[in-house]
Subunit: 179 residues, 4 copies
Amino acid sequence: MSVRTPDPNSGWLSDDELAVIRKRLPLLYVEAVPVRVDGLGIITEVGLLLRANSSGEMTRSIVSGRVMFGETLRDALFRHLEKDLGPMAFPLLPASPLPCHVAEYFPLPGISAYTDERQHAVSMVYVVPVTGSCDPRQDALEISWLTPQEAVSPSVLGEMVGGRAALLKAALASAGVLT
Amino acid sequence: MSVRTPDPNSGWLSDDELAVIRKRLPLLYVEAVPVRVDGLGIITEVGLLLRANSSGEMTRSIVSGRVMFGETLRDALFRHLEKDLGPMAFPLLPASPLPCHVAEYFPLPGISAYTDERQHAVSMVYVVPVTGSCDPRQDALEISWLTPQEAVSPSVLGEMVGGRAALLKAALASAGVLT
Amino acid sequence: MSVRTPDPNSGWLSDDELAVIRKRLPLLYVEAVPVRVDGLGIITEVGLLLRANSSGEMTRSIVSGRVMFGETLRDALFRHLEKDLGPMAFPLLPASPLPCHVAEYFPLPGISAYTDERQHAVSMVYVVPVTGSCDPRQDALEISWLTPQEAVSPSVLGEMVGGRAALLKAALASAGVLT
Amino acid sequence: MSVRTPDPNSGWLSDDELAVIRKRLPLLYVEAVPVRVDGLGIITEVGLLLRANSSGEMTRSIVSGRVMFGETLRDALFRHLEKDLGPMAFPLLPASPLPCHVAEYFPLPGISAYTDERQHAVSMVYVVPVTGSCDPRQDALEISWLTPQEAVSPSVLGEMVGGRAALLKAALASAGVLT
C-alpha cells in the first residue's frame, strides 16, 4: 500500500472524501492558545503562529487541527501541539477534556462569531502552558511570544482571521486575562 | 422528491451514508439532563427517559442527538429537547454554548468512561431546567422525575448504559448536586 | 430592641465594627449581571444600574452586596437581586454556586484589575437572567437595558468604576457574548 | 514587639479577635487537591494529608487555609501549598483564580454539604498538579499518594470530615475523574 493510499479502515480521509464530508457534517476540531506562565501560574506570554494563508497573506493563528476517528480530544490536542510547536515544547495539558471555550465555525458569516469557508467545524478551545522550546513545523513560519496586553492589541488582533480575535480574547478571559 | 430522499445538499444523511461515515469520523452530539429547579435555582428533580434499546431491554437515558450540518449547538439542543420532551417543555437553554461536561464515546471500551458500539461520538453535555410539561415523543416511553438523590442511587444508575451513569453524576456535580 | 440595635449574635455589623473589620479581613461579596434572554437562551439585553457615588457622580454598576454570617451564596445573591431590582424581577438563579468570574478588589490599585478604596473584597460574579419587571430600589436611580454590544461599548464601560468594565466583559464572555 | 503581638495594621488576627470575627462574618478560604499528572495531563495520583484532629482522631484532608487581608487568592493558595507540602513541591497554579468548586462550610449541619463547627467559611477549591517532592510540614503527619480510584473509595472517603468526601469527588469530577 503506497503512502498516498490511506487505510480504508482508518480515520484518515482522502482529500476527496474530506471534501464530500465537509458539506454534510460538522467536523470536530481542537484549538490551543499556547502560553507561558510564571511560578504563580500567571500568564506572562502568549504564543501566536505566523502562517501564510491560501491567498498568500500572512496571518496570526493558534494551534488548530481536526480530531481523528478513534482519537481522544486529549490525544488530538497533544498531536496538534507537537505538529505546530515541535517535539520539545512540553505542553501541560489540562486534566479535564472540558474546553475553556467552544468556537462554532460556519461557511457563511452571521450565524456565529466564527467563519471557515471550507466547512462547518466545532472547535474545543484550550489554553495550554508550554514549558519547553517551541520550533514551529509544518506550515507555520514562526511563533511570536507576546505579552497578554500585546496579544489583544488591535494591531495583533487585526492579523487574525475567521473570528480568532474573538476566540483569543474569550480564551484569555477564561484564564483571568482581563482587557 | 419523496420524503425518503434526502436533499443531497442538506446535512441529513441516508442510513448508508451515515453507516460509512460512522467508521471514519467522530460525530458531534449534544446531550441534556432535564431538571426542575425551585425559586432559588436549586435542582429539585431530574428527568430520566425510559426507552427500550435495540435488544428490547428497558434503559434510562437523557436527551441526546446528533448536531446537523449548519446547525448551532444551541439549535441542536433545542431541537432534541423538543423531540424528546415535546413542544410544551419550555426549556431554559444556557446562555453559553460551553458544556458542563464532555463525553467521548468510543466503539470499544477502555479508552474513556463512555462507549457507543455504533460510533465514535463526542457529546457536549448540558443541564437544562424545564419549566413546562413534558410529553415524551419518538422512542421514549415516558419520563420519570426523580429527586437528585434518587437519580444517583445505584438502582437507577444501574439502568443506564454506555457510561451514562458517570455522565449523570458528573453533570449533576457541575450543577452543585453532591453525592 | 430598637430597629437600630443589631442583634449581637447576628451577622449584621455596626458601622464601627465593619470599619474595623474592613482593615483586617477580606470581605465576601456576590455580584450579578442581570440579563434578559430569548427563547433559545441567547442574551438580548444587559441591565445596568445607574447610581450616584459618594462624590455625587453618576456611575453604572451591577447588582452587588456582602454575604452575611450564616447565609449561603445563593441566599445572598437572591437578597441583593431583590434589594436592587425589586420583588417582581423573578431572577433565574444558577443551579451551582460556582461563579462565572471571581473579582478580587483591593484598596490600592495594581494588585488586580479591581479596586475598592473601602476594603479588600472578594466577589463571586454571576450572570443572572431575569424574567419579570425590574423596579430598582435603595440607592439605584434606574436600570437601563442595553444590547450586549451597547453594554460593552467604550462610552458605557467608561461609566463603570473600580474595574467593573473588565468584570462586565469577563462575565459576558463567559456567557458567550464575544467582543 | 514580641512574636505573639501581631502588627495591629496587618491582616493577621490574634486568637481572640479571630474568635469574635468567626461569629460575625463568613471567612474566606482556599483549598487545594494536590495531584500528580502524566505527560498527557491525566491525573495519576491524588495526594491526601494525614492529620490528627482536635480530638486526636486521624483524618485525611487536603491543603486548606485562610485568605489574609491584602493577599490575592493565588498568593494564599501558594502560601498554603508551601506550608502543607513543603518548599520543594513545585505546584502548577491555575492561570485563572476561578475555582473548580466552591464549598460553603457552616457551623450547623443541613445548610450545605459542608460543616465546620468553628465558623462559617467559604472555600475556593482548586485541583493543583505538583511536580516536585512533597514534605508535609506543620500539623500534617504525612502525605499519601493514591490512585484516583483509591482516593474515592468508601474507606478513604470515610476518613474525611466536614463534607470533604463530597468536595474531593466534586473537585476530581471537574478534572475529568469519573466515579
